[in-house]
C-alpha cells in the first residue's frame, strides 16, 4: 500500500513538472503575432506564403507573421478598420484609400520607423513622396507599375513597322495595321469600367505633357485648359471615330482580360495598351506560339514628338493599423522586405514583375540570369528614365476619389457624344476644385 502511494505521488510529481515546463516554454518562446491581410490570388498566395511569410518567420524568433488572404479585401478591410479592428499591416489599393484612412486617423504614422530604418534612402523618391501625408510617412509602396505599349515584335519585323515617336507616325502606323485587316490595339473594359482611366492617363500625359499634368495636379493649371481638352478629344477620335481598340467602341466595352490577350497573341491586333501587371499573362499567351512580343513606353503623341514618359503608378500600398498593439513589430516586417532585395526580386520574378515590384533602387547587378530580358530592360529603363525626370502621372495614384472616378465613369459619356471634350474637362475641373476645398487631394512629389 505504501509502495503504491509512493508510486502515485512520484508519478504526479513528474506529471506536474512536465506540465509546468511545457507552460514555461510556451511563455518563454511566445512570439508577437503580426497579421497582414492581403488580396487573394490563387497563383500568388502560395508564393507569398512560402517565400515571404515562412522565410521571415524562420529568420528570427520574436515575430510570427501571419498573412491572411481575403476575397474582396477592400470592403472587408474598411469595415474592420472603421470598427477599430483589422490587421496590423494594412494593404490598400493605392494612395486615394490611404488618404481616407489617414484622414480618419485609422493609420499609424511610420515616420519614426522610416527615419530609424532609413526607408527614404532605400525607395525611389517619387514612390516615397506618394506615401507622405501631412508631412509624415504613412504608406509604403508594395508594388509599382506603369503603362506601356506592347507590340507583336514578329509582326512588326515582317512588315517593317517601327514603334512611333510622334502623332503622325502613330496614326500612319494605325492605318497600315487596319489595312492589313487587324485591329490597332486589343483591349477591353468588360467587368472593369476603370479600364478607361488607363487610356485617359496615357493621352493626358502624352499629348498635354507631364509638366502640365503636374501643374494641374498641384493646382497651378486648370484641367479645362486647351491642352487637356485636346488630349481627351484625340482619345475620343481614336476610340470612337477610328476604332483603334478592338475595332469599335462596342467591342472595347464587350471584351475582357482573356479576350484581348488572346486577340493580341493571335494577331487579331498588332499592339496592346496596358500596364506592366500584364507581363505574366502576355508571356503565357505567347508561350506556345512562334510570334514574339516586345514592349515600348507609350509614345509622345504630339506632332513634334519627343521623349516618351513612364507614368508613375502604385498598385498597392502597406501601412500600419492605428489600432495595432505591435506597430514596432509590424514596421520590422516592412523593414525586412525593404532590406531584402534578393527576396523581393525572386518573388517579383515568379510573378513576371507584374506584382510585388517594390520600388527599391535596383541596379543591373541585382537581377539574376533568370529574370526575363524584356522585364529586366523595363526595370532598368524605368529607373533611368524616371531618374532623369521623364515621368508622368497615372490617375489612380495621383487623382483624389471624385475626379478619379469622373475620369473613367464619364469618359463613356464623352465617347457616346453626349458631351464635348471641353464640357467633360470643365466638369473634371469642378470636381478638382471640390476636392481641394475638402482638402482631399493626394501627395505629389516635387517635380
Amino acid at each position: 500500500m505504501k509502495k503504491i502511494r509512493s508510486l502515485f505521488f512520484k508519478s504526479g510529481h513528474i506529471l506536474l513538472s512536465f506540465i509546468f515546463l511545457l507552460c514555461f516554454s510556451v511563455v518563454v518562446t511566445a512570439k508577437t503575432k503580426i497579421v497582414w491581410w492581403a488580396e487573394t490570388n490563387a497563383d500568388r498566395d502560395p508564393v507569398f506564403q512560402a517565400k515571404l511569410v515562412d522565410v521571415f518567420n524562420q529568420s528570427q524568433n520574436q515575430i510570427e507573421l501571419v498573412m491572411e488572404f481575403k476575397e474582396g479585401l477592400n470592403d472587408i478591410l474598411r469595415t474592420a478598420m472603421v470598427a477599430g479592428e483589422g490587421p496590423d499591416i494594412v494593404e490598400t489599393p493605392g494612395p486615394s484609400y490611404v488618404k481616407e484612412y489617414q484622414d480618419a486617423g485609422l493609420l499609424k504614422s511610420m515616420q519614426q520607423y522610416s527615419e530609424k530604418y532609413g526607408w527614404k534612402e532605400l525607395l525611389l523618391p517619387w514612390s516615397y513622396s506618394a506615401g507622405v501625408f501631412d508631412g509624415e510617412f504613412y504608406s509604403a509602396p508594395k508594388t509599382y507599375e506603369t503603362m506601356i505599349l506592347l507590340y507583336n515584335k514578329t509582326l512588326f519585323e515582317e512588315n517593317g513597322w517601327r514603334v512611333p515617336t510622334n502623332l503622325s507616325e502613330f496614326e500612319a502606323l494605325a492605318a497600315k495595321i487596319k489595312a492589313k485587316g487587324m485591329h490597332v490595339f486589343s483591349y477591353g473594359s468588360t467587368g472593369w469600367q476603370p479600364t478607361h482611366e488607363h487610356l485617359a492617363g496615357m493621352y493626358l500625359n502624352s499629348v498635354a505633357n507631364p509638366d502640365n499634368v503636374y501643374k494641374a495636379l498641384i493646382g497651378e493649371k486648370s484641367w479645362d485648359s486647351p491642352e487637356f481638352v485636346e488630349a481627351v478629344e484625340l482619345l475620343r477620335k481614336h476610340m470612337v471615330d477610328e476604332g483603334y481598340w478592338s475595332g469599335s467602341l462596342e467591342n472595347y466595352y464587350a471584351l475582357g482580360w482573356d479576350d484581348f490577350h488572346a486577340q493580341f497573341a493571335k494577331r487579331g491586333a498588332a499592339m496592346m495598351t496596358i500596364g506592366t501587371w500584364t507581363f505574366q499573362a502576355t508571356e503565357n499567351a505567347f508561350k506556345d506560339i512562334s510570334d514574339d512580343w516586345e514592349w515600348a513606353p507609350f509614345p509622345n503623341l504630339t506632332m513634334e514628338g519627343g521623349n516618351p514618359s513612364f507614368l508613375l503608378a502604385l498598385g498597392t500600398t502597406l501601412s500600419i493599423n492605428g489600432q495595432s498593439k505591435h506597430p514596432e513589430e509590424a514596421a520590422k516586417v516592412i523593414d525586412f522586405i525593404f532590406k531584402n532585395k534578393a527576396l523581393v526580386l525572386d518573388m517579383a520574378n515568379d510573378f513576371n514583375f507584374g506584382e510585388f515590384v517594390i520600388p527599391l533602387k535596383y541596379t543591373n547587378s541585382d537581377f539574376g540570369a533568370n529574370v526575363n530580358s524584356k522585364v529586366r530592360r523595363y526595370l532598368i529603363e524605368f529607373a533611368q528614365a524616371t531618374g532623369k525626370g521623364n515621368y508622368g502621372y497615372t490617375t489612380w495614384t495621383f487623382w483624389p476619389a471624385e475626379p478619379g472616378v469622373h475620369i473613367w465613369k464619364d469618359m463613356e459619356v464623352l465617347w457616346a457624344g453626349d458631351i464635348t471634350a471641353k464640357e467633360y474637362m470643365e466638369d473634371h475641373e469642378k470636381l478638382w476644385k471640390k476636392a481641394r476645398r475638402k482638402k482631399a487631394t493626394l501627395p505629389v512629389g516635387k517635380r
Partner: protein, 291 residues
C-alpha cells in the same frame, strides 16, 4: 393564463430569433442610414451634420434623374412582359397532365441560377468574338454583331431581357399554384355554357387568382427599385450611364467616390418610395381589395 395568450407567447418566442436578426442586420442599419443622409460621411472618419445639402445636390444630379427614369422603365418592363408570358404559360401548363413537372423545372431553372452565372451565360451568347452574332454573320445574317450590353441605346433593355429570363419562371410557379386552387366546378360550368379557353381564362382564372396577381404586381414594383446585380455584372450602369439605376448610382457614390452621406440620401428616397407603394397596397386592402 388562457390558451390563446399562451399560444401567442409561444409564437412570439419562436419569432424572436428571426426578429432580433432582422433588427440587428436590417432595421438598425436602415435607421442609421436615414440619419447618415443628413451628413457628409465618407465611410471612414468624422461624421459632420450638413442638413439637407445632399438632397439639394441630388435634385441637380443628372445621373440621379437618369437613374429614376431607368427604374421607371425597368418597372414598366417587368410589369408587362414577364407577367404576360408567365400567366400565359401557367394557364397553358394547367392543361398539360404528362410532363408538366419537366416544363415547370425548365421554366423555373433560370431562377435557381446565381445571377453571376446567368450573366456569364448571356455575356457569352452575345460575345462579339465567340457569340451568336458571329455564327449568324458567318451564315449571312447581320444581327448581334455588337453585344447589346455594349450599345448605349439598348443596354438597359438587354439587361432587362436577362433579368426577365431569370425571373419569369418564378412567376409561372406562383401563378400555376394559384390556378390549381381555383374550384374546378367553375370550369365545368363554363364548359357547359360553351366558353372558349380565353373566356375561361378571362372570366374565371384571372378573377380567382386576383390576390396572388396583385401580390406579384406589388413585389415587382418594390423589387424594381433596388435592382442591382444584373446591371452591375453586365454593364456597371454603362455605357455612358445608359443602364444606370438608383442602386448602381448609390453603390458608385458610396464605394467609388466615398460619398456615403450622399448615397444614403439616395437610399432614403428609395426607402420612401417603397413605403408609399406598400402604404397604397395597405390602403387598398383596407378598403376591401383582396390582396
Amino acid at each position: 393564463m388562457n390558451i390563446v395568450s399562451n399560444k401567442n407567447s409561444v409564437a412570439w418566442f419562436f419569432i424572436l430569433p428571426a426578429f432580433l436578426i432582422h433588427l440587428v442586420v436590417v432595421a438598425t442599419p436602415s435607421i442609421l442610414s436615414l440619419a447618415l443622409c443628413l451628413t457628409d460621411w465618407n465611410g471612414f472618419g468624422k461624421i459632420n451634420f450638413i442638413g439637407f445639402e445632399n438632397f439639394n445636390e441630388l435634385f441637380d444630379d443628372r445621373v440621379f434623374k437618369k437613374a429614376i427614369v431607368h427604374n421607371i422603365i425597368w418597372t414598366v418592363i417587368f410589369l408587362t412582359i414577364p407577367i404576360a408570358l408567365s400567366l400565359t404559360c401557367a394557364y397553358l401548363l394547367t392543361g398539360i397532365r404528362r410532363g408538366q413537372l419537366i416544363f415547370r423545372l425548365v421554366f423555373f431553372f433560370p431562377y435557381m441560377l446565381a445571377s453571376i452565372i446567368s450573366c456569364q451565360i448571356w455575356k457569352y451568347i452575345f460575345h462579339p468574338l465567340h457569340g451568336i452574332g458571329v455564327w449568324l454573320s458567318n451564315n449571312g445574317i447581320e444581327l448581334f454583331e455588337k453585344s447589346p450590353f455594349a450599345v448605349k441605346d439598348i443596354s438597359l433593355y438587354a439587361v432587362a431581357l436577362v433579368d426577365g429570363w431569370h425571373f419569369w419562371g418564378f412567376l409561372v410557379v406562383i401563378y400555376i399554384t394559384g390556378m390549381y386552387q381555383v374550384d374546378h366546378s367553375m370550369y365545368e360550368a363554363a364548359d357547359l355554357e360553351g366558353a372558349t379557353k380565353f373566356q375561361k381564362f378571362r372570366f374565371i382564372t384571372l378573377p380567382m387568382i386576383r390576390p396572388i396577381f396583385i401580390f406579384t404586381l406589388m413585389i415587382i414594383i418594390i423589387w424594381s427599385i433596388p435592382t442591382f446585380d444584373y446591371i452591375y455584372i453586365l454593364t456597371q450602369g454603362g455605357p455612358a450611364y445608359s443602364s444606370e439605376v438608383l442602386a448602381t448610382h448609390l453603390y458608385s457614390q458610396a464605394f467609388d467616390r466615398f460619398n456615403v452621406g450622399y448615397s444614403s440620401a439616395i437610399g432614403t428616397l428609395m426607402f420612401f418610395y417603397v413605403l408609399i407603394i406598400v402604404s397604397i397596397f395597405g390602403l387598398l386592402q383596407k378598403i376591401g381589395w383582396e390582396i
